[in-house]
């Protein structure tokens, strides 16, 4: 079991296993009830039709609008509050239990309350994504800023940095990589929040694509939309990892 292996040894197993997976899907799909599973080829045809009609693009953009607004709000709220909590020890001690509790609670349980308070619009969905995204960002920022060595702050102080300079030149740059780790975790959770909001508040975007297909017993449609969401998830996760790596470079 050599660690590197030849090119063939490295790339053949994943490719073969991928092909085998698709072949199995195709085979099972052809020999079962269409309400249960449809072959991969039929799913692809449905996907192509969705893409050609423009519906796919439109629904993806609609979903991404909710996703990115909620995630941005999570970052804009989570990161500054995280820094503040790390800087002011008494605030951190006062609120840490409550933040941990909110982090460990399945926030998806709050969706019915949000529904009856805020109804079906854009804002309640963004709120759901925000709730899913904000706590990992907040938590990682606090933990990062807390690990800041006191000497760094002392050096800044002895050079007569004021509070503003301390934040700008020490706290924020030091904590940024940790915030990015939080952002990467938040991306995965925000994606769940986005679909949950589109399922349980009112059907829009990719969630609607799945819901309406499933209500019409259009299994090919459900599978096609699931594939799209999986692809979107992989791209967003990759983006999150890339961001994290980009900022990890100056982590000390």
């Amino acid at each position: 079991m050599s660690r590197e292996g030849s090119l063939a040894a490295r790339y053949a197993p994943p490719l073969l296993s991928f092909a085998a997976g698709l072949a199995l899907w195709e085979l099972v799909g052809r020999h079962t009830n269409a309400a249960f599973l449809v072959p991969f080829s039929e799913t692809l045809v449905t996907l192509w039709q969705l893409a050609r009609s423009g519906e796919l693009l439109q629904q993806t953009l609609s979903s991404l609008a909710i996703f990115s607004t909620g995630l941005a709000a999570g970052l804009l709220v989570g990161a500054p509050i995280g820094l503040l909590l790390a800087r002011v020890a008494v605030l951190r001690r006062a609120f840490d239990v409550y933040i941990m509790t909110a982090y460990a609670t399945p926030l998806v349980a709050l969706i019915p309350f949000i529904l009856s308070l805020m109804g079906f619009g854009f804002a309640p969905k963004v709120l759901v994504v925000f709730l899913f995204a904000v706590f990992p960002i907040l938590y990682n920022t606090v933990e990062g800023a807390r690990s800041l060595k006191p000497e760094l702050i002392e050096v800044a102080r002895s050079f007569r940095s004021d509070e503003w300079a301390l934040w700008r030149d020490v706290m924020v740059p030091y904590t940024l990589p940790y915030t990015m780790t939080g952002l990467r975790q938040a991306i995965g959770r925000a994606l769940v929040g986005m679909i949950a909001a589109e399922f349980f508040l009112s059907s829009t975007g990719l969630g609607q694509l799945i819901m309406s297909a499933s209500q019409n017993f259009d299994t090919a449609g459900v599978l096609a939309a699931t594939l799209v969401i999986m692809a979107l998830g992989l791209v967003l996760m990759w983006l999150g990892h890339a961001l994290e790596r980009r900022f990890a470079r100056w982590r000390v």
Partner: protein, 262 residues
């Protein structure tokens, strides 16, 4: 959310700030809702008054039992299957290369997306909920156990080999114990995800359980009552977390939290 969290919880002199913050949160919540929101919206006082009534309500107790039992069952299945798969991937380069793409895809896919498919396959039943829970929990365990199995120090394996240890002996006496902290980290992640899976499955299929209890009561404008169920979910989430942190601390005191994936 880890050993560090417990350290902060034990930080000196945090009792009073914490109490004041709690009171402040309750006050702001109570006053805001009373001033701006309709009368049915949950308030701390309303929830506190609802607790004795709900805690003795047979429907509620049954809902708790059903959901928590389903989560426990799903976690056990995910643990057994996930540990086996994780060991396989961690131990064999071939299995890793062939299977990792599926595990990564399963981990990345927002689990909630499988609800329409799962309810198509298993019907609007408890089996659909169980499948959702297993799907939600499985992949974080596989990934963590695989990382753990790969992180076994090479010297340990070499020593075992020079004493002519059998394959199973090595697996159970060296690889599994070495993968333990990773396994626990995966379990902590999995427990949280399983709980979310159970709730969304109940929202989606409307089968009895805590999620449905919340859905039903909030639709009939009994927000205080519904919120008691949210508190139970929160307590379960926090409880799982604390339990696993404590287990890590007591039985694996040498392990550092930054070694495992989150």
């Amino acid at each position: 959310m880890s050993a560090a969290a417990i350290d902060t919880a034990r930080e000196q002199g945090s009792f009073w700030p914490r109490l004041w913050a709690g009171i402040a949160i309750m006050l702001v919540w109570q006053i805001t809702v009373r001033a701006f929101a309709p009368a049915y919206v949950a308030t701390p006082i309303g929830i506190a008054l609802a607790i004795p009534r709900i805690a003795t309500d047979p429907t509620f107790l049954l809902s708790c039992g059903i959901t928590l039992a389903a989560v426990a069952e799903g976690l056990v299945i995910a643990l057994v299957v996930g540990t086996a798969l994780g060991l396989l991937i961690g131990q064999s380069t071939l299995a890793d290369r062939a299977l990792r793409q599926y595990v990564n895809a399963g981990y990345t896919l927002p689990m909630i997306v499988v609800l329409p498919l799962v309810s198509l396959w298993f019907g609007y039943t408890g089996a659909a909920r169980l499948a959702t829970i297993v799907f939600a929990a499985l992949f974080s365990i596989v990934l963590n156990v695989a990382d753990g199995a790969r992180a076994v120090p090479r010297e340990y394996l070499e020593v075992a080999a020079s004493f002519r240890s059998g394959r199973w002996r090595v697996l159970f006496d060296i690889v599994l114990p070495a993968a333990m902290p990773y396994f626990l980290a995966g379990l902590r992640l999995a427990a949280g995800r399983a709980l979310i899976g159970a709730v969304v499955a109940e929202f989606f299929t409307a089968i009895p359980g805590l999620g449905y209890f919340i859905l039903f009561n909030s639709r009939t404008f009994h927000h205080n009552e519904a919120f008691v169920a949210v508190l139970v979910l929160a307590a379960f989430g926090v409880g799982c977390d604390a339990l696993i942190n404590e287990a890590t601390r007591r039985y694996l005191p040498w392990y550092r939290r930054d070694e495992v994936r989150d």
